[in-house]
Symmetry: C2
Subunit: 374 residues, 2 copies
C-alpha cells in the first residue's frame, strides 16, 4: 500500500475520527485508526464501544494513490506525528509485517502497525428512511438537551436523549428526574414513526465534530444504531435499549405567575449569589417575589456567609408574594440553553416544578423541580 | 472599618497577592487575605510558608477611606466575588465579629472573616543594599534558569537558583546535576558580595506577577529572605540554607567541534523525533554528525517504532564522525531558553557534557550531560 496525501487534509480527517478512538486496552486494535486505500479513495475508521466514525477522502488533487491496501496505525502516535509535521504532503507505505513507513520532508518514521485482521467489521450502512436537518440546527438541539440527561447509571434510559416523531413533529427530551429539557421540532413533511434514545455523551461527542454552517445532516436509524451523515463523515452511535418515560404530563400549562428577566443579568446574579456554595452539591438558592413586584435571590452558607441579589423584573403577569428554593447549578444550565435575550419563568407553586421559556427559542421548555428548603 | 474602592484596581491587586495564598489547612488564617486600612492607604497581604506578598493601594481617585481598621477575608471567596461583580466600585464594611459586608450595585454579600489577631506578623523591611534590575531582564533570567533546577528534594540546595555577585558581575546558576544553566550579568558598578539560593518555584511564582515592561525591580537581601520590590508590590521569598556547589569547573572551554543550527528548525526536528517516547522518562535521542557534515537525530522505541530526522547544518567548525545520546526533554528545555534565532552546540566528547550558546543570549550557557546509550 502506498499513497501520498496533503498534510492538512489528512490531519483534519484524523482529528474527526479520533473522537471515536478507544483509550481502553481491553481491545488494543481499537486504539488504532484503520486506513483503507482503494483505487479511488481512502477510508479512515475509528471505533470504541459507544461510537464509530468513518471518514472518506477522495479529493484527487490532494491525494495520490499508488498502491491499494490497508493498515491500522496507533491513533495517538499517528495524529501526534502528522500534527508536528510541517511538510505540504506526507507519503505512506505499508508492509507485510504491519509496519508503516511515513515520510515527510526530512523526517522518516517507521511506525509499528496493529494487526488489521483483528479490526472489527463495522457496518456504516444507510437506511431507506432518514431525517435531514441542517447542521447549525442539530448542533443547537444537542446543546440544549444533553446537559439535562442523567449522569447516573441508576436508570440507564435517562442517560440518553429521547427522539420521538409523530407526524411532522419530533420531540427531543432529556431528564435526570430533577429537571427536564424538551424541544419540539416541526418539519415540513411527515416522517415515519421514530422512537429512539441516543446516549447523551455520544451526542456531545458528535457535536464536537459538527461545525456551525449550512451543511445538511442525514440521520439514519436501525434497531440498535443511529448513523449521522455529515460532509464526508459517518458517525455511528449505539442506542439505549428500553422505553423512555412519557414526560408530557409533567409539564405544567397553568401558572400562578410568570416573570420576565434579561437573561444575562439573571445569569450574572445567580452566579454571584452561588459563589459561596459553588463547591457544594446542595447549591440551593431561594427566589423571592414580593407583592410589590420587587424580587431577590438569596443564599446562605453557614461557614462562609450570606449573599443577596436584587433582580430587575422586566414583566410580571400576576404580582404575588411567592418564594421557591432550587438548585442554582440546574437553573444556570437551563438558562444558558436559551438563545433569547429575555427569558420568562413560569411558576406553578412553591413546591411545584417551574418552567422557563424564551421568545426566540421556539418550542423549547426547560423544567426544574424545586428543592424543599432545609 | 469602611472604604470604597474601584473594582478593577482591587481585582488586579487581589490577583497579585493571591499567588501567595495558602491552600493548606494547617494554618487556616493563611487561606485569607489580610486587608489593613489606614488614613492614607490600603495594604493587602497574603502568605504561605514559601512566599509572602504585600500590595499597597493609595490612589485617592479610586479609593475612598471612611474608617480605619483591618480584617482577614477568605481569599478564594473574596476574589471570586470581586471577579463576578460588574459594578464600578465596591464598598467594604467590617464588624467586631469579624464579618465583612460587601456591597456592589444590587449585590449584598456578608462574608465571615478570619480572626485577624491570628494573622502572623510578617516583616517586609527593606535592606540598606539592594540590586536594581529592570523587569523585562529579570523575567528573562528567571525563565532561563528555573527549569534546570532539581525537582527532587534529595539535595535541597539544587531545588534553588544560585545568585552570586563578584564585583560588578552576578552569576545566576541552576542545576539538577544532569544539566546546568548559567547566566552572567554585568552591572555598571560593583555590588557588595551576595551569595544566596532562592527556591526555583518561588521565582516562577514571582514571574507570574511581573509584566514585560520597563519598571525597575529592587532586590533586597537579608540572611533568610529576599525581597523583590516591584511597582506597589513587595514579594518576599525564603532562601535555601546551604552552600551551592561550585559549578564553574564543570563548564568546558575546549571543544571537539561546534555546530550551528536554526533554533526553531532544530526544536521542531527534536520534537518530532521524540514523539514515540514522549511519555517515557528515558526519552533518549541519538545525535550523529558525519564527516561529510551531514547530520541526523534518531530515536528507537521498541513497541512503537523508529524516527529519523535529517538536520540542516548552518555551520560546522570541525567536520568529524561523532555521535552522542542524551535526553530530548532536557535538550528541548535548554533550546527554548534561548532568544537567539540560531544556536551553537559545542561538543567535547561522545560521553562528555556539551554546551549550547546563542549570539543574542550574551553570557548564557546551557549544559547537558549525555546518557550512556543502552
Amino acid at each position: 500500500m502506498k499513497f501520498s496525501i496533503n498534510r492538512d487534509l489528512l490531519l483534519q480527517n484524523l482529528f474527526a475520527v479520533s473522537k471515536a478512538l478507544s483509550t481502553k486496552v481491553q481491545m488494543p486494535v481499537l486504539t488504532g485508526i484503520k486506513i483503507e486505500v482503494t483505487k479511488n479513495n481512502i477510508v479512515m475508521t475509528a471505533s470504541n464501544n459507544e461510537i464509530s466514525i468513518q471518514a472518506k477522502i477522495e479529493d484527487r488533487k490532494l491525494l495520490r494513490i499508488e498502491e491499494e491496501g490497508a493498515f491500522v496505525a496507533p491513533g495517538k502516535y499517528l495524529i501526534e506525528l502528522v500534527k508536528k509535521t510541517e511538510s505540504k504532503d506526507i507519503d505512506f507505505i505499508s508492509y507485510e509485517d504491519n509496519s508503516i513507513k511515513i515520510l515527510a520532508d526530512r523526517s522518516d518514521f517507521t511506525l509499528k502497525g496493529l494487526d488489521k485482521d483483528n479490526y472489527p467489521i463495522i457496518s456504516f450502512d444507510e437506511s431507506k428512511t432518514f431525517i435531514t436537518i441542517d447542521a447549525a440546527n442539530l448542533k443547537q438541539i444537542i446543546r440544549k438537551s444533553t446537559f439535562a440527561a442523567s449522569v447516573s447509571e441508576a436508570r440507564v434510559i435517562l442517560t440518553g436523549v429521547s427522539f420521538q416523531t409523530s407526524g411532522a413533529e419530533m420531540k427531543v427530551v432529556s431528564t435526570d428526574s430533577y429537571r427536564l429539557s424538551r424541544k419540539v421540532l416541526v418539519f415540513d413533511h411527515e416522517y415515519p414513526e421514530i422512537k429512539i434514545v441516543i446516549p447523551a455523551k455520544c451526542l456531545d461527542e458528535f457535536n464536537k465534530i459538527v461545525e456551525e454552517g449550512e451543511d445538511v445532516i442525514e440521520i439514519h436509524f436501525s434497531k440498535t444504531k443511529a448513523l449521522f451523515k455529515y460532509k464526508d463523515l459517518k458517525y455511528l452511535t449505539r442506542l439505549i435499549d428500553g422505553t423512555f418515560p412519557n414526560t408530557d404530563a409533567l409539564i405544567p400549562t397553568q401558572f400562578l405567575t410568570s416573570v420576565k428577566f434579561n437573561k444575562n443579568e439573571l445569569i450574572s446574579s445567580v452566579e454571584r449569589v452561588s459563589i459561596f456554595n459553588s463547591n457544594e452539591a446542595s447549591n440551593i438558592i431561594k427566589f423571592t417575589l414580593n407583592a410589590d413586584k420587587t424580587c431577590e435571590i438569596t443564599s446562605t452558607t453557614n461557614e462562609i456567609g450570606d449573599a443577596k441579589e436584587e433582580l430587575n423584573l422586566l414583566e410580571c403577569s400576576d404580582p404575588i408574594q411567592f418564594q421557591i428554593t432550587f438548585s442554582s447549578a440546574y437553573f444556570l444550565e437551563a438558562l444558558r440553553a436559551f438563545n433569547s435575550s429575555e427569558v420568562e419563568i413560569h411558576f406553578t407553586g412553591e413546591i411545584k416544578p417551574f418552567i422557563i421559556t424564551g421568545d426566540y427559542d421556539v418550542n423549547l421548555i426547560e423544567l426544574i423541580l424545586p428543592v424543599r428548603a432545609a
